[in-house]
Symmetry: C2
Subunit: 300 residues, 2 copies
């Protein structure tokens, strides 16, 4: 059963990625003229290799409620723009100073630092433009709710707040509670939006929303622990980025606090717990269940 | 008449600035805990000394249509957040590398570069959160339109596109048409949104919108030429920022292309032209008329 889920999952994930990339390609056209360079970097950042986990979560949460795919795809593209911008800025010399991302030079290495900063800014801005457009949903209340929720998830009390804490984590002695809070902000908030987006698009009832946010809460933390395990144990060939950086930076993570084995068990427990929130969606939620197992078993 | 306008204008501008700062203060609370530093930098950037020209334009375009001030103030605060974020990122070492802004150390000097990058990101994101919130307007169609228009004005085909061109201007030989295009994007797009916001909030007719955008178009370019004149001729004590940077960088500007005298005349002509678009609003538009004169006569 779990093996079968995984097999289906690879195909489902690839299909979601292809669909999201098609939408991103449409929303990020090749532009002529001197500012073409800006859009070139935006495309480099958003359309580079990647799992497209967040678009997968948007598309499969939307499917639970039979949301038309053209609406869900625009939200999936918007969330991937925000994710991509956060990676571009996170990789900057003043931040994590990474030169490798998704197996390629980071944006500021491939192009230059100024253009990378601006391309990140433009990706974030475009995400809101996409959500606010009537093509995303005919109901303006739903469009405004999508904008508000994404902004809350991505902003100073969400993802950016988590990045801020992450900068401090190198200097401070965070305990497990502090780390959990950091990860809930840094990774969890956007994953929460990705999972909740389907319910917003469908104007779904409170029980459905709560179930999806609870799923996202556990999934996001499991995802981040798996990421930390890859940083501690994986290779650059597997992950497409530099590894061993957390330990070198003296950064507190779940892995440094619990050790590899206990951290792995904790991630597995969180994945099972995530799945347990999805009962009310019955078999419709199988792709989301498979995603939870994938997240903790992945090797890249 | 012109002198009288100027006299009124100083008081009007100060009142608008005070009102906008009150709203920014409410929307950017002091936050306890480790991420408090992020909000501290956001406040430093958004609430520092400044003319608050864009909030003035929002509030006075909204007044033409009797838009309730609590709605206009939120839009004014949002636009100032976007303006502040653009300054923080523009001042970064990889961009313009400025250490002085509004008479104080720039954000990355006062704090650090990573926090400055993140605070800029969070300010941009918060602007969209504010606009999408029902407190900004009860009609969700209007909220979504505000989000879409701000995103278009601030993004890769607006302000950020202009910043990209500005980076290239140091290296390329832009002619007057190229410079006009750069300025229309870099400064004009946000000023266009500031002036158009009142019409959006009021769901005003097409003629009113067109008049305000035409006014903003001329005003924005006049504003930028005045800025370039201050860079060429002003002092740091007057402007609160480093001057003479354009010439040192070999950057093409209207001043370098036309010379000081002709550039000043061009700005004056644009200000008169801006005013000419406001006839249909009669005396209600006097503050906007005064703003056009102020912009080209200012010494800071």
């Amino acid at each position: 059963m779990k093996a079968g889920e995984r097999l289906d999952f690879a195909a489902e994930l690839a299909a979601a990625a292809a669909a999201a990339d098609g939408e991103l390609d449409r929303l990020l056209p090749v532009v002529e003229g001197p500012e073409g360079r800006l859009f070139e970097v935006m495309r480099y950042a958003a359309l580079g290799p990647g799992k497209r986990m967040r678009p997968f979560l948007v598309l499969n949460s939307a499917r639970l409620f039979n949301v038309p795919s053209q609406h869900a795809l625009r939200v999936a593209a918007a969330i991937e723009m925000v994710h991509s911008y956060s990676l571009v800025h996170d990789d900057l010399p003043a931040m994590d100073d990474d030169d490798l991302r998704r197996g390629r030079p980071t944006a500021h290495i491939q192009f230059d630092e100024a253009t990378a900063i601006l391309a990140g800014d433009a990706l974030l801005t475009l995400a809101f433009e996409v959500l606010a457009d009537p093509a995303t949903h005919p109901n303006a209340t739903i469009r405004a709710e999508l904008v508000g929720e994404l902004a809350r998830g991505a902003g100073g009390r969400g993802m950016v707040g988590g990045q801020m804490l992450d900068l401090l984590a190198a200097h401070r002695d965070f305990d497990l509670g502090g780390i959990a809070r950091l990860e809930r902000l840094k990774t969890g908030a956007l994953i929460g939006f990705s999972c909740g987006a389907g319910a917003i698009l469908a104007n779904a009832n409170e029980a459905s929303r709560a179930a999806l946010y609870a799923y996202a809460h556990d999934l996001g933390f499991a995802f981040q622990i798996a990421d930390d395990l890859l940083d501690a144990e994986g290779s650059e060939a597997q992950t497409g980025k530099r590894v061993g950086k957390d330990a070198a930076a003296g950064k507190a993570t779940v892995v440094s606090l619990l050790g590899v084995e206990e951290a792995r068990q904790h991630a597995q427990m969180l994945a099972r717990q995530a799945v347990s929130h999805l009962d009310l969606f019955r078999e419709m939620a199988d792709p989301l269940r498979a995603a939870a197992h994938f997240v903790v078993d992945r090797r890249a």
